[in-house]
């Protein structure tokens, strides 16, 4: 198999989904952020964002805290240690697959 394809196939599927990738990328750059910030960064609808956050939380990648700002409910999200490490590994693997020169014109066969 083409080594580049193999690298892409080996990527963490949970993060590789585009919506979750946007969420993880946004959260990787901050210590924590609320739902509104994530909506602005990802352009996802509330329902979509909620369901993807729930999947990331279920996998232990994201920690979600329900709190209040004044009288308005606020959902604060942050990447867990596991989530941050997984995103870092994903980022490195994706960069290697997309941007590093492959062996041979189409990558070396295995």
């Amino acid at each position: 198999m083409n080594s580049r394809l193999r690298q892409i196939a080996d990527l963490d599927r949970l993060i590789h989904e585009p919506a979750r990738l946007m969420i993880a990328a946004a959260l990787s750059l901050v210590k924590e952020a609320d739902f509104l910030y994530l909506q602005g960064q990802t352009d996802l609808t509330k329902g979509n964002l909620s369901s993807h956050l729930a999947k990331l939380e279920e996998a232990g990648y994201v920690e979600i805290e329900k709190t209040y700002r004044g009288k308005i409910p606020m959902t604060v999200c942050r990447l867990t240690k596991k989530g941050r490490a997984s995103y870092k590994a994903y980022e490195a693997a994706l960069r290697a697959a997309l941007f590093e020169p492959a062996n041979g014109a189409f990558g070396a066969s295995r």
Binding site: E32, R69, P73, M74, E91
Partner: protein
């Protein structure tokens, strides 16, 4: 091929410039420094008003240094978070300030040593300080404009360069620096104020859960 992860990073970093609030404190500090420079350059040190005015300036600077981050947090809490959402950067406020201070100090020390190595006359070096400040501001303006697509930084950068060169040529060192600081401070205030006004007009606060 465009790097989608880099695009996400740039998008996240643009958050800091959306409301113009990062430019306003910078403008206030530069304006205060410029005002202090004017008093030093033009004022009569034996005049009765000199000491009280300098004391007021010292108190203002100390108050700014102590309360700036708290004031900014309170302002963002009321203006930015209800509109663009809340986020806490990975580096805490004081760590960012220490890094910025270290970068500025390092640049000044490097310039000083480069000047000595080049055999420049210290008086002429001081004379050209506003021009150097203008070029530095201009470089930052170009970087922020190219990276984040925010042309207002380029406008302030170009103004800082022109003002820096003009005052370096036309005025004695202390007065030149005071004019440059006050001028660039006003430019930051105008840029930040206009951006904030536009932000408040176009981004209504969210009434729902955030």
């Amino acid at each position: 091929m465009a790097d989608p992860l880099l695009e996400a990073r740039i998008r996240a970093q643009r958050y800091w410039y959306r409301d113009g609030l990062s430019e306003i404190p910078l403008g206030i500090v530069q304006l205060l420094m410029g005002g202090s420079g004017f008093i030093g350059a033009l004022g009569n040190r034996t005049a009765s008003w000199f000491v009280p005015v300098y004391l007021i300036y010292t108190v203002l600077f100390v108050a700014l240094a102590v309360f700036a981050s708290r004031i900014m947090a309170a302002v963002r809490e009321r203006i930015t978070y209800p509109r663009s959402g809340y986020m806490h950067p990975r580096l805490s406020g004081w760590k960012r300030h220490v890094l910025m201070l270290a970068a500025v100090t390092g640049a000044l020390v490097a310039l000083r040593y480069a000047g000595r190595a080049g055999g420049w006359d210290p008086d002429r070096w001081v004379q050209w300080l506003p021009a150097v400040g203008g070029l530095t501001t201009g470089a930052v303006g170009v970087y922020v404009t190219v990276r984040y697509g925010l042309p207002r930084f380029l406008v302030v950068g170009v103004l800082a360069i022109i003002l820096g060169v003009v005052v370096s040529v036309e005025y004695p060192p202390r007065l030149a620096m005071a004019i440059w600081l006050a001028g660039v401070g006003c430019a930051w205030l105008c840029s930040g104020g206009a951006t904030l006004w536009n932000y408040l007009r176009t981004a209504p606060p969210s009434a729902d859960e955030t």
